[in-house]
């Protein structure tokens, strides 16, 4: 019998409960996050327009780069100001 030391992070996958989906967007504010990918703004702009046409409140946010996680201040602002978020996931 040989003993080896585990080289991994030994993490256990965190189990997160999915947030309950709203039945309708009436009265809610939707956050739209541009992650910074080229032409990603074309997509999120169109989504924002379509939501606004339906009378839904929309707020815009952006990441400085698609390569790093959104800065904490942005995440906290979205949490405080919105109830629903639309976020692209790169390519």
């Amino acid at each position: 019998m040989t003993t080896l030391l585990n080289p991994t992070g030994e993490h256990e996958t965190a189990k997160r409960v999915q947030a309950q989906r709203p039945i309708a967007l009436d009265g809610l504010t939707v956050g739209v996050l541009d992650i910074g990918k080229p032409r990603g703004d074309v997509f999120v702009n169109r989504v924002a327009e379509r939501l606004a046409e339906r009378g839904i409140a929309v707020k815009r946010y952006a990441k400085p780069s698609p390569n790093a996680p959104a800065i904490i201040a942005t995440r906290q602002k979205m949490l405080a100001e919105t109830q629903v978020a639309v976020i692209g996931l790169a390519d």
Binding site: T3, L4, L5, N6, P7, T8, E10, S65, A68, P69
Partner: protein, 477 residues
């Protein structure tokens, strides 16, 4: 009373493989015959010494370890469960004083030094430290079956980059940790992409697997610290579809101390420190951070450098300041610089004999990096060879002038690179017309390579819109 299970009285620790122990065998019989209470611990042969009652088999070395024996023979006295005196090796006067018996070993020389205790044998000392010395590890112990191949077991557990790894046994990890004064439990940071705590112990385990020697640990730890700096944006480097991986450049006295290569084939294979430090960093990212190809690592191609890419600067033969000094580290200090880069793009100019011609060759090669029309604040490292550097040295060019000329020569009117120009869609927007556009955000220069060859190399940076910044950390022991 007793000490470690050994009763009060005399204790002699011996091994048959020691000529001095064999020499004092009659003395031990003489002591036993005199009626002196004596226990003899034998380290390698329970049948040695002969003719002496009370021989204790210590081939497991537990008692020798507990008594902290460094040399055999060692004679000591235990009174009321405590050691009171000790004689190391054979010295008649000391043995007579310790035992209170005169005329011991009169046929023997007055004195003779002993041999190393088996507890001090390099092959057993580390194993004893773990088995008996209270050394513990935070990491999970994974038991491998007796018939299981250790290296295959590492592959099976998805711990490898595709090449065989050195199985990380506790003894090997313990030895690796001797290469640093840092606490094994120290958390260097949260390793992306899983953001798992990366301890010094985890770094040591992966260093073993990569084939590092313990003395590489300070360099590897500095590389991990640089990788964990938020400015380096490691998460993005792992996750991107681009070719990038971390390139490790080492400066300062540690290069020579651990035998790194900055000369012939500096960017290639063949040097243990270069190869294993770069590989160990990637194994830490893979195993601790969970950054695996096909998982979070979505590189379309990757690059061979992602197995590991580490080299040293040739500072001794350079007229220009070392990269680390350029990056703010004091001269004479060792440092690691991490660069998010691709593979090696060659610059071949065997004809230029003036700096004016040669710098234009460099600029022309740099201008097409990534794409001839992509100008978006790129980073690059120029690895300049001894023969190319000579041209600039003989003309009295400083490093700053060299970089400044490269920046100027790679700045062009937007019209040349506007979208659609040259029949190619990529390029700057029409709105940029009338402006000058710079190709590079940062250009760094490192001196390395063999003394023969009018070639240099470009290490292309990932940057552009990536925001990853070149990161330098001082090497600490």
């Amino acid at each position: 009373m007793s000490l470690h299970g050994i009763p009060d009285g005399l204790v002699a620790v011996v091994k048959r493989d020691c000529p001095t122990c064999v020499m004092v065998e009659p003395v031990l019989r003489q002591l036993a015959a005199a009626g002196t209470p004596i226990s003899v611990l034998t380290q390698d042969d329970p049948a040695f010494p002969t003719g002496v009652p009370g021989v204790i088999d210590d081939t497991g070395l537990e008692r020798s370890f507990e008594l902290n024996i460094e040399t055999v023979p060692t004679l000591l006295r235990i009174e009321h469960g405590r050691e009171t005196t000790r004689a190391v090796g054979w010295h008649r006067g000391e043995w007579e004083g310790l035992t209170g018996i005169r005329a011991l070993g009169v046929d023997l020389p007055e004195q003779r030094p002993g041999c190393g205790s088996l507890t001090a044998d390099p092959n057993t000392a580390d194993e004893l430290a773990i088995r008996l010395g209270g050394v513990t590890f935070e990491s999970e112990k994974v038991e491998i079956g007796g018939y299981e191949d250790e290296q295959e077991a590492c592959f099976d557990r998805d711990w490898s980059d595709g090449l065989p790894v050195v199985p990380p046994t506790p003894v090997r990890v313990y030895r690796m940790l001797q290469g640093t004064q840092r606490d094994p439990k120290e958390v260097l940071g949260l390793m992306p992409p899983d953001y798992e705590p990366c301890t010094v112990e985890k770094v040591a385990i992966n260093a073993v697997m990569a084939g590092c020697r313990p003395e590489y640990m300070p360099v590897l730890i500095a590389a991990v610290e640089a990788a964990l700096d938020d400015a380096f944006v490691l998460h993005g480097i792992v996750a991107t579809t681009m070719f990038v991986g971390p390139i490790v450049i080492v400066n300062g006295p540690v290069r020579k101390a651990i035998g790194m290569n900055s000369g012939v084939n500096a960017l290639g294979q063949g040097n243990r420190a270069n190869s294993s430090i770069g590989r160990a960093l990637q194994l830490v990212i893979r195993n601790v951070g969970g950054g695996k190809p096909g998982g979070v690592d979505r590189a379309a191609f990757g690059t061979p450098g992602k197995v590991g890419f580490c080299f040293a600067e040739n500072e001794e033969d350079s007229c220009w300041e070392p990269l680390s000094v350029e990056r703010g580290i004091a001269p004479g200090k060792s440092a690691v610089t991490l660069f998010a880069g691709y593979g090696v793009q060659g610059i071949v100019d065997q004809n230029s004999r003036t700096p004016e011609s040669l710098v234009r060759s460099f600029a022309a090669c740099l201008a097409v990096m990534r794409h001839p029309k992509i100008y978006q604040g790129l980073d690059a490292i120029v690895v300049i060879s001894p023969e190319h550097l000579r041209v600039f040295r003989e003309a009295g060019w400083a490093k700053k002038r060299f970089i400044s000329e490269l920046m100027t020569l790679t700045t062009v009117p937007a019209e040349q690179i506007v979208t659609g120009a040259g029949g190619m869609t990529p390029g700057t927007p029409e709105s940029a017309r009338g402006t000058m556009v710079r190709k590079f955000r940062e250009l760094l220069v490192v001196h390395a390579g063999g003394i023969a060859g009018l070639f240099s190399a470009v290490l292309e940076g990932w940057s552009g819109n990536s925001q990853s910044r070149i990161t330098t950390k001082e090497v600490r022991n």
